[in-house]
Symmetry: C2
Subunit: 204 residues, 2 copies
DNA sequence: AAAAGTCATTGACTTATGGTCATAAATATG
DNA sequence: CATATTTATGACCATAAGTCAATGACTTTT
């Protein structure tokens, strides 16, 4: 890799780091693009080389922690479906916590914004989460863990709704509860009952 | 009531109506305050007599449909807890649908916005929904419908998360599914299993 | 019924900031 | 070393949110 690309990469990273810190501390709306560039030690215009809109930086900020989850799940190939889901919930909320409430708030807003770039793997948006989870459930059906009449689409919807809802509620409650505590109790009450009647017990 | 207050009320209603139509059609970010006032036939400054910020009109827009749910639930005093929840889910999503995707998007954004007025009954925000639902569950415990060891707070969280998550997902999916179809199936799969082990069967 | 007072309304103005772009600096290429 | 390419700059522009002194319609007081 040549020097140019390297400095470019470095600049982008500086912006993301500065942005993360500022948003975490003050909230997305309370800072402007120049605040970010100043903190990163570059000129305002530089921001727009790396991000099309002010909002776009949030996706990149969140990509770092959230991006790892999918990889981890792939490595759990052998585990039971309930274990996978537990892991997914747990890690998702761990990322939520590490990003902090202000980043999550803005991230949710971005995800809802129709002007955003179309759903992509990179965007870490609705569709991608949905497809990944659906894949996990479908796989469980194929492997015979779940009954073949399990309504995979519906279950995916329910679980994703729960996940996003948990994050939204955490943001709304202004961080009133510990995300991770709740997650474990959520899983306990939710996963088993919801999947319950679709889990194969014996050689049925 | 004197003529002055009457025209004032009328003006506000004109703004809300104009705002609803415009946001429904074009989305909140795509219109500006002057678009609303022009459509309502008043001057721009008038908007700020009735709303402190551009965003504030969305709360008033959504207050109309959503406000009715609480009243309806009070009238269901005698019904079973599962019936009440089913009604709540159903009506909530009915309101979501009638408000339209653009209003819901912005409403969710507003609810997440830390600059918003503190949670109030009028605000129709997190806390209010939470307390209402919690009340319903607590009542069910008192009446002996639910076991006394039912984790009311946690169950409330789960259900609210699900509700808000469902709306968020609908917005994210760009209205891909019929909210009401899904709601019924959600209820079917969710309410019974989640509450299941806390519902008293007999004279236990 | 005239004067004084109240309050909704107005729209020109201020201000803030997201985003653009011509220019310059740094680096690569031959 | 000359030319080409990429990255960085910051003055500038456009837009729109939000303010406010002035207005006049309506109400109350004397």
């Amino acid at each position: 890799m040549n020097k140019r690309k390297l400095t470019a990469q470095k600049t982008k990273r500086k912006l993301i780091t500065a942005g993360l810190e500022l948003i975490k501390e003050k909230g997305f709306d309370a800072i402007n693009v120049e605040d970010i560039t100043k903190k990163a030690g570059v000129a305002k215009g530089t921001f727009y080389i790396y991000f099309k809109r002010k909002e776009d930086i949030v996706l990149d900020i969140s990509r770092v922690p959230f991006g790892e989850i999918a990889d981890e799940l792939e490595k759990m190939e052998g585990s039971a479906i309930t274990e996978k889901l537990r892991h997914y919930f747990h890690r998702f909320m761990e990322c939520v916590e590490s990003c902090g409430i202000n980043v999550c708030r803005q991230w949710t807003k971005d995800v809802l914004d129709p002007n955003n770039v179309p759903d992509t793997k990179d965007g870490r948006k609705w569709k991608y989460d949905f497809e990944m989870l659906k894949g996990i459930l479908e796989n469980a059906v194929l492997k015979g863990e779940l009954k073949s009449n399990a309504p995979v689409e519906l279950l995916t919807h329910i679980i994703i709704s729960e996940l996003y809802g948990m994050m939204t509620c955490w943001c709304m409650s202004d961080g009133e509860f510990e995300p991770l505590d709740w997650t474990d109790r959520f899983c306990e009450i939710q996963i088993q009952p919801i999947l319950g009647k679709f889990i194969k017990n014996d050689g049925e």
